[in-house]
């Protein structure tokens, strides 16, 4: 009874283990490191490539029509030319800019709108929740291609409109994720505590709920980036996306399709660019899912040989 519990002094408690630096975690996973290098390269090319190529992506040279990839014609002949003699390399670089300038704003818009609405709906529950979820259901059950075609017919198929359509059709994805997580968090103790102290719900959502949901949302966004990129290229391929003289990777595949038998490189190379970018984003998303989850992060700190093997105890492996 008389023993007083001594408050632990600062010297006794070991310092809390710091979460490992993210670039160290990235270095441990070779595949994720390669993926992030590829993505960085794509972003750099998209941002600054146009400064280097000048008007090369549009410059026609009919004498150089349908040249196969070779080392004989300088940097711009490296990946061959299309039927008008335009350099495929220069067009790939130009298209990287267009493709990312559509995909990134679309993902950001749907991420912000969807998450904000979802967190709000999930936190408050009740009528607000069910109305928001029904709206999401309606958007999801609508043939999104139909919306795209209609909007692009009514308004012109400009990059701005494509961003808008992609953003609207992807909002439900974030909305559902954010709602589910925030509905689960609203009854947690620390949220209750904040509410007891009279914190306005807007601030609770921003300071207490959002930080926990954010890693999941960012992972979903990385995956969705692939989906948006693929949709943009499909729309461009069908002729209702990016319009010439602008060029995107999907449009390049469409333009190269009729020369498939004679000049495979026009249609195949932009597809390779799409695949490399989307696969990298997927790999990075898978890595981010592990790295942002405190319960799973330790897997990445293990040496390669032992990683993951502990998920199923070794004695169970025959």
């Amino acid at each position: 009874m008389t023993d007083r519990i001594e408050p632990p002094s600062a010297a006794d408690t070991p310092p809390a283990p710091r979460p490992p630096r993210w670039w160290l975690l990235l270095g441990r996973d070779r595949l994720a490191a390669v993926a992030s290098a590829v993505l960085t390269l794509v972003v750099l090319v998209a941002l600054s490539g146009r400064l280097f190529i000048g008007d090369r992506a549009q410059r026609q040279d009919l004498r150089a029509s349908l040249r196969p990839p070779s080392l004989d014609h300088g940097v711009y002949g490296l990946l061959g030319t299309d039927v008008l003699g335009r350099s495929v390399l220069a067009r790939l670089v130009d298209a990287a800019g267009t493709t990312l300038s559509v995909a990134v704003p679309a993902v950001l818009c749907s991420l912000v709108i969807g998450s904000a609405l979802g967190l709000w709906a999930g936190y408050h529950g009740g009528v607000r929740e069910s109305v928001t979820m029904r709206v999401a259901d309606v958007i999801l059950s609508f043939p999104s291609l139909l919306i795209a075609v209609v909007v692009l017919y009514v308004f012109a198929p400009s990059a701005m409109n494509i961003v808008l359509i992609l953003a609207v059709t992807r909002v439900p994805v974030y909305l559902r994720t954010a709602r589910a997580e925030s509905a689960e968090l609203r009854s947690r103790l620390f949220v209750d505590a904040a509410r007891t102290f009279g914190t306005p719900s807007r601030k609770i959502i921003y300071w207490h709920v959002l930080p926990i949901v954010l890693p999941t949302l960012l992972t979903v966004a990385t995956l969705d980036f692939c989906f948006v990129m693929l949709t943009e290229s499909s729309l461009s391929f069908l002729g209702i996306g990016i319009q010439p003289p602008d060029v995107s990777w999907g449009l390049m595949v469409a333009q190269g399709r009729q020369y498939l038998g004679t000049a495979w490189w026009i249609a195949v190379l932009p597809g390779v660019a799409i695949v490399l970018t989307t696969v990298s984003a997927t790999v990075l998303a898978a890595w981010a899912r592990l790295a942002t989850d405190p319960a799973q992060r330790w897997r990445l700190t293990l040496p390669r040989k032992r990683r993951g093997a502990t998920a199923v105890p070794t004695e169970m492996i025959q």
């Binding site: 043939p143 209609v150 017919y153 695949v275 997927t282």
Partner: protein, 309 residues
């Protein structure tokens, strides 16, 4: 089970209604079909006659009334393009899409269950890493690109498979199904693997093992049943995407399915056919979602008891 079903049907009927109404208004926003179907030299009288004959003169509420009353009686009007009843055209096209979607999903689900379980059995093993990279790549390949590269390699260069059309033996199915298959397969392998890793480290699996159940029984008898719920949800969403129009595949390979019919109807302002097609796919998706939920309830007693709001 019955109250569960009733609630589920009511709550998904609302989106269905919105889709039916939405397509009516969206279609009319694409423009006036009169300009497309009559020559530029048509006189104003001819234009007026055409409009009146097709019912485009009526006010929008009247047109909507005709559409809704017709739909209830399963009469969707006639196609502007072909003069056939819209319902006939849609019912001719739908089985093609359904067959494609059915075969694709059957292969994708069974393949993914097998590969995903193998990968999850030893996380971090060579099989797991290969399956991981393979599935990520499969989920990220643009289908139109895969299709035309497939045509280039197998149709043109090797001359093994037909490049388009539906006539012929089983070989006409290979390229379209392969194109449709890659994305669902890749996505599903990842989902199966993820939820199997979780299930295989659960206590009931340890108990099953300690009681001496062999590996096949543990994986397929105990773990898979509990791991299959998220797989079902994702597979449902992927099937919805397929039913909603394998437009790209149907266009490239020349299959007369519902996706191609829809996009042609939009481009030709063939409102009657478009409305009928969207209504049919919306009802199918509605039924599909209910079916997925019923499967959930059958597999998981907790879902049966907790009636969703």
């Amino acid at each position: 089970m019955v109250p569960f079903l009733r609630k589920r049907v009511v709550s998904s009927a609302i989106p269905l209604l919105f889709v039916v109404l939405g397509v009516f208004f969206l279609a009319r926003m694409t423009g006036n079909p009169v300009d497309l179907y009559l020559p530029l030299s048509a006189t104003p009288e001819q234009r007026a006659d055409f409009s009146a004959a097709q019912g485009f003169d009526d006010s929008v509420p009247v047109q909507l009334w005709h559409y809704l009353t017709g739909a209830v009686q399963l009469d969707f009007g006639t196609s502007l393009r072909t003069g056939q009843p819209a319902a006939t055209m849609v019912l001719d096209a739908f089985p093609v899409t359904l067959q494609l979607a059915g075969v694709t999903m059957l292969l994708a689900i069974s393949g993914a269950l097998l590969v995903g379980s193998l990968a999850a059995y030893r996380p971090g093993s060579a099989i797991d890493r290969i399956a991981g990279l393979l599935s990520m790549t499969a989920a990220s390949i643009p289908d139109f690109w895969f299709a035309i590269v497939g045509v280039l390699v197998f149709g043109v260069s090797l001359d093994l498979l037909p490049t388009s059309g539906t006539l012929g033996g089983p070989e006409v199915w290979i390229l379209p199904v392969a194109t449709l298959l890659i994305r669902p397969f890749g996505v599903l392998v990842q989902v199966v693997r993820g939820s199997m890793v979780g299930a295989l480290s659960a206590p009931y699996v340890k108990i099953a093992r300690s009681k001496g159940a062999d590996a096949r029984r543990v994986v397929f008898g105990h773990a898979l049943r509990n791991a299959v719920t998220p797989v079902l949800t994702v597979a449902g969403d992927l099937t919805v995407a397929l039913v909603n129009g394998a437009v790209i595949v149907e266009t490239i390979f020349g299959w007369p399915g519902i996706g191609k019919l829809m996009i042609d109807s939009i481009l030709q302002r063939d409102f009657a056919v478009l409305q009928a097609a969207v209504l049919l796919t919306a009802v199918t998706i509605f039924a599909l979602n209910i079916l997925v939920d019923v499967c959930h309830a059958l597999l998981d007693p907790r879902v049966r008891q907790a009636v969703p709001a």
